[in-house]
Symmetry: C2
Subunit: 203 residues, 2 copies
């Protein structure tokens, strides 16, 4: 199996961390230069039409893109340790928190980055005013998740899950738009130290 | 079980259609006035902190929000008919397509709606220029999915799935921003007629 990715981008890190937690190591990683547009080459778009990284290529050539869909594949193939829940209720609650970290924080950080820096201005139209708003939304989420983490060891409760993977990769990426954990986020800071100490955080 | 929702909003329709496909009927639906801010009342925010509809409330008071997390709960509790896949590969491919319909189309339609109309301007800062860009992104997706549907009966292949639910609710909602299926989308039109004819489309 191969994963096409860029080591410095936040979504590939989510997949690498997920795989490290599962102990899956027999994967070839192929690096693409996103700023240079490697991911938009016709040969790659034929296999991965939306051009986003990472994508997983199976031995038979089947391609799966979208970070959480790739994680789902590995969760179903290698169920232990479960990172997406065991019972129906756990699965739903982990999916809820994963999505909330993704939609209301990681995506907002990404929009702030893309629209305020113009990093991908060769392939999209940055709207700075929107990027600034997205950054405010991301900052609000940090306060909300800080309050939630006062009563929860991990994002989705007592167990480490994919929701923690998403939040860690997003919090660390948020430094590119000057969003950082401060003294106003003591619970988020406690959680960040706990999760950053896992070996998978270095993946 | 109770579901708090608004009948005219697109995300609650996704859940109702999913439940109709499963044949699940013993749920009480409670209508909220989103424009009036019902969903932002303190009593509701205490149970559903992000204030988004729909959310599911179980008998013991546990709340699950985020459309796909609610669907996941019902998929796991009532596996037949499977709407999120059977095998690891099917589950991953359906999740990929569901997410692509959601991220690159439904969310872009929503951003176009919110940022060009100012519908929620009491609770967010609309940036019209960004809304216009989001509408262009949504229009591009309609051409892409039209090409994909030339070779696929349903969005994720041969079987109806949650990806079709997302796309149908998004395509129908897109009329609010004047995005419609045209003669340039013959495959999307074929698919839309097929999926709209299901009883669940009326849910």
């Amino acid at each position: 199996m191969k994963i096409y990715e860029s080591r410095t981008a936040p979504n590939p890190r989510r997949v690498r961390m997920f795989l490290a937690e599962k102990g899956i190591t027999d994967i070839e990683f192929i690096q693409l230069d996103l700023a240079g547009g490697d991911n938009l080459k016709p040969e790659y778009l034929a296999r991965n039409p939306f051009g986003k990284v990472p994508w997983l290529e199976l031995e038979d050539g089947t391609c799966i893109s979208e970070t959480v869909a790739i994680c789902r594949y590995f969760e179903e193939m290698f169920p232990e340790p479960a990172l997406m829940g065991d019972t129906p209720l756990q699965k739903a609650q982990i999916e809820m928190w994963q999505r909330q970290c993704e939609i209301y924080f990681m995506n907002q950080v990404g929009m702030c980055f893309q629209h305020t820096t113009g990093y991908f201005k060769d392939r999209m139209t940055p709207v700075k005013e929107y990027g600034v708003e997205a950054g405010k939304n991301a900052a609000k989420f940090m306060s909300r998740i800080d309050a939630h983490l006062a009563d929860n060891v991990y994002v989705a409760g007592e167990s480490f899950s994919i929701a923690d993977v998403t939040l860690l990769c997003a919090v660390d990426f948020a430094r590119v738009v000057q969003l950082r954990i401060t003294d106003e986020h003591p619970n988020l800071r406690r959680w960040h130290e706990l999760v950053s100490a896992r070996a998978s955080a270095q993946a």
